[in-house]
Amino acid sequence: MKKEPILQIKNLSVSFPSESGRVEAVRNVSLDVYPGEILGIVGESGSGKSVMSLSTIGLLPDAAQISGQIIFEGRNLLDLNDLQMSKHRGRDIAMIFQDPLSALNPVQTVGKQLAEALLIHQDISHEAAIKRAGELLEEMKIPKPYERVNSYPHEFSGGMRQRVMIALAIANAPKIILADEPSTALDVTVQAQVLDLLKRASVLTGASVLIVTHDMGVVAGIADRIAIMYGGKIVEDGPVSDVFENPGMPYTIGLIRSIPRVDSRQKIRLASIAGSPPSPVNLPPGCAFGPRCPAHSSICDQKIPELEPLNKDQRVACNRKDDIAGLVSSGNLYPVEPIVEIKKSQSRNVILEVKNLKKTFPLLKGQILRRRVGSVYAVDEISFSLVEGECLAIVGESGCGKTTTLLEIMNLLAPESGRIVIFGKDMAELSKSEKLAMRKDLQIVFQDPFASLDPRLPIGEAIMEPMGVFDISKADQEKRMQELLSLVGLNPLHANSFPSEFSGGQRQRIAIARAMALNPKILILDEPVSALDVSVRAGVLNLLSDLQKKLGLSYIFVSHDLSVVQHVADYVAVMYLGSIVESGPVNEVFNSPSHPYTQSLLSAVPVPDPKVEKFRKRIILEGDLPSPINPPSGCRFHTRCHVKQQKSPEDQAKCVSERPTLQAKRSSEVACHYSS
């Protein structure tokens, strides 16, 4: 028997005025939330998911026009004014925001802010509130909670701050917790901690949790039910395992099939959805997904589909849901070309080698006379090599030094310590002209396509810029530029447009075209798809692997996203706090990780498959990432290592005193005293 919903959203529509016209963020959405359940709301940029959660708690900007009903405890929340609504906020309905640093007041202690949340709704004394604040921090597993009550937000790490936000949300035992991308800004291992705590919070308070995210893996792990939003509407909803196993809406299908999975054991070609999510200012007529849908037909442009039951528990909004049922079940909705396996040459020709690379940054204090008060050990003696024609991935979380490593290589200078050898030439011995010549062969693609292109330069000129450094005639440059645009799948006629006129995915393609301008042999990619929408990533990843095969490129691919790495890389090196802890062929490392850190990293990566997620054993790391200013002695990982904790005291002492070096293990290398 179905329980009564605790929250009912009925025909909610939200629009905003903007310079370019009216923005319809949410269009006629209806949704029920049941007590005690975790409902995942998934969508990409412009889907309206955040606006929906903000409407529920009544924190939309004044300019927003809202219609419809949000029924909670028999009242329509949209009828309440600010004073009445503020009685519900924080007590019955609470919210966790995405960026905890800006969400907390920087000039007040954490304890004061927690206490305030309590004092607004409960009639208790100030001392009692502070004490309860400490208790809440303790429940959130923050170390030394009663002391940290007097700390300021900037004195906590990102993961800890988010725990404070969760504590704030559950302070008054709310009935509904809204979480807007709560773990998106966090590292994978920290994300696992935070999601775990969120589940705990739900159990502690019996609250329903509405978690808004773009990450299918996160929903697969934490949610009971899922609703997928696109273009301001819900396009599919139902129990999470049903939706993942038998999605009915082409967008959902495409989404699931385009996401790389960390546990896939074969190189598969990802299904890519053409185009990019529509801007809310410029929604297509009829079905918002129509222009990108492989099953598009004329009815899709005429009629806006509404949610209709697909089966007992699932609903789908698709005009052609019955027509395409056959296509869907056979799995041919998004045809992909089979993977072409190129024969790898037997000779493994090492074209780039890094030996004992070290980079420390001085920590300076003082305005006039700057004293060195310490060092940041960003990269602490790492070695790896890149084989011709292969893709080496460097993975790690933020602060592990992977980006610093890339930049060290790109500098083409002798490093602080160690050697960098490219094409057999040592960087320390290069002359200036040799260095310049080297730039032709080594190019970089940055993470943020919005920032890596000069907004004032037409894209054609941006692509030609690297050629301008070398003596190439203008005519040749133009010709090459047109070739490059076609190579990356863009229309050469758009060479005079500015970056702002393109979507994120297209901008990244332009950046890739620019990097390819001088026909480099090595491409360095710094998180090339992390800043892109999920449905767009597959297209760029496919392009990168096509280019590699066609042109025999070698890649160094840096990422924190292990699913992407599993998809593109041949070799992987795992970094932690400036050291490589494990490296080897990607299948071997991901299938049977030897280093404890790799194990916990892999266990933390969300997999977009509820069956897998529900039965995973997660290794939750304790504590925070240590400071690179003051790295732990001996093995850098020993402060959080689950393997060490199970060892005898003598063995543990070795971890603390002796730094492990990379040792060969099958075809990989591991730096651990006690790797399994």
């Binding site: 007590r91 960026d99 704030l168 006039i368 400071s627 690179p628």
Partner: protein
């Protein structure tokens, strides 16, 4: 991970020491700049001003020897090497003696007489301007786009486009006009007070003399601070942590005052400090127009009479004031904003 985050977590126990060290460092910087500013002021004055000029062109002409001895007596003889004059002057300053004016009177005395007069005006003017300005700014932010906000907005724009001296002149005319209309002198437009009065009558009379000049300085301050405070508050209104405060259950107004105000007011502390430099200039205008014999009026008179020592003394005074204000601003923002202390 941001470096600031790491430093913060580790410096918890250093909090108290850091603030003290910060203060000391700023103070040393402060002294250094005062010395440099004063030196530059003296050297420029000694080269650009020509005290000899005061005694030339007389009929009958004064013999050169007499001029020399007059000038040497006050350490302003241009035939003495400039560095010698400077070292004489600066050694006097360090001992507390600011030298002689061109009329062979004690600069210290003149200083003492005038400083209280100027301070009355400056402190009242700037503090009142800041407080009223901040208040009006806050109300304007809360009542955004309503009549209060718009009218004060336009008025501020006009006032900020009007130079201080023009404001002072207009106020003076306004005072005279009102006086005529009501038949008795409510606003006094010249001088400090009417000398014959005593006691309470003197006090009231002083106030009547004080209103218009203070208003001349205050109006500019109100216009400036109200605009900045309003915009700072509007920024804060849209900020994430205010949204969190509302999510906790505070109403818009409560959130604004409990959380927004302190963050919005931070930049005002810095502005207040830096405005001290401009106040001296403002005082110069106001004092000459309203006939107050304060530091500003003294400065104008000194430049016009080539009085090097007086001019240098005033430069010293101004530099100290400006630097002290800057120093105060730094300490204030460190006290108000815990993030600053880590630097």
């Amino acid at each position: 991970m941001s470096l600031l985050g790491w430093a913060g977590a580790q410096n918890e126990w250093q909090k108290g020491g850091v603030l003290a060290g910060f203060v000391v460092k700023r103070f040393v910087n402060f002294l250094l700049l005062v010395v440099i500013a004063t030196t530059v002021g003296y050297l420029l004055a000694a080269t650009a001003l020509n005290p000899r000029e005061n005694y030339l062109g007389r009929n009958p002409p004064i013999p050169e020897n007499t001029i020399n001895s007059i000038l040497t007596q006050v350490n302003m003889n241009d035939q003495d090497p400039i560095l010698e004059r400077y070292s004489d002057w600066i050694s006097g300053v360090v001992r507390g003696d600011l030298g002689k004016t061109i009329f062979n009177e004690s600069v210290n005395l003149e200083f003492k007489n005038r400083i209280w007069i100027s301070f009355r005006l400056l402190i009242l003017g700037s503090v009142l301007g800041a407080i009223l300005g901040v208040l009006i700014g806050v109300i304007s932010a809360v009542k955004q786009y309503k009549f209060f906000d718009r009218s004060f907005g336009y008025a501020s724009y006009v006032i900020l486009s009007t130079p201080v001296f023009l404001v002072a002149i207009l106020l003076k005319f306004f005072g005279v006009y009102i006086n005529e209309k009501i038949g008795f002198t409510l606003f006094y437009t010249v001088g400090l007070n009417t000398p014959e009065l005593t006691g309470f009558a003197l006090f009231v009379n002083s106030l009547q003399h004080l209103i218009l000049p203070t208003l001349a300085l205050t109006l500019g301050g109100i216009a400036f601070y109200s605009r900045w405070q309003r915009n700072s508050m509007l920024d804060v209104l849209g900020s994430d942590h205010l949204r969190t405060a509302r999510a906790k259950g505070l109403t818009k107004k409560e959130a604004l005052f409990k959380h927004g105000l302190r963050v919005a007011i931070l930049p005002m502390a810095t502005f207040f400090a830096y405005s001290f430099g401009l106040l001296i200039a403002g005082a110069a205008f106001t004092e000459s127009i309203f006939g107050w014999y304060g530091m500003g009026e003294w400065f104008i008179r000194s430049v016009n009479s080539n009085d090097i020592n007086s001019v240098s003394a005033i430069v010293l005074f101004t530099a100290v004031l400006v630097l002290f204000a800057g120093f105060l601003a730094d300490v204030l923002s460190a006290a108000l904003d815990p993030r600053v202390r880590l630097r």
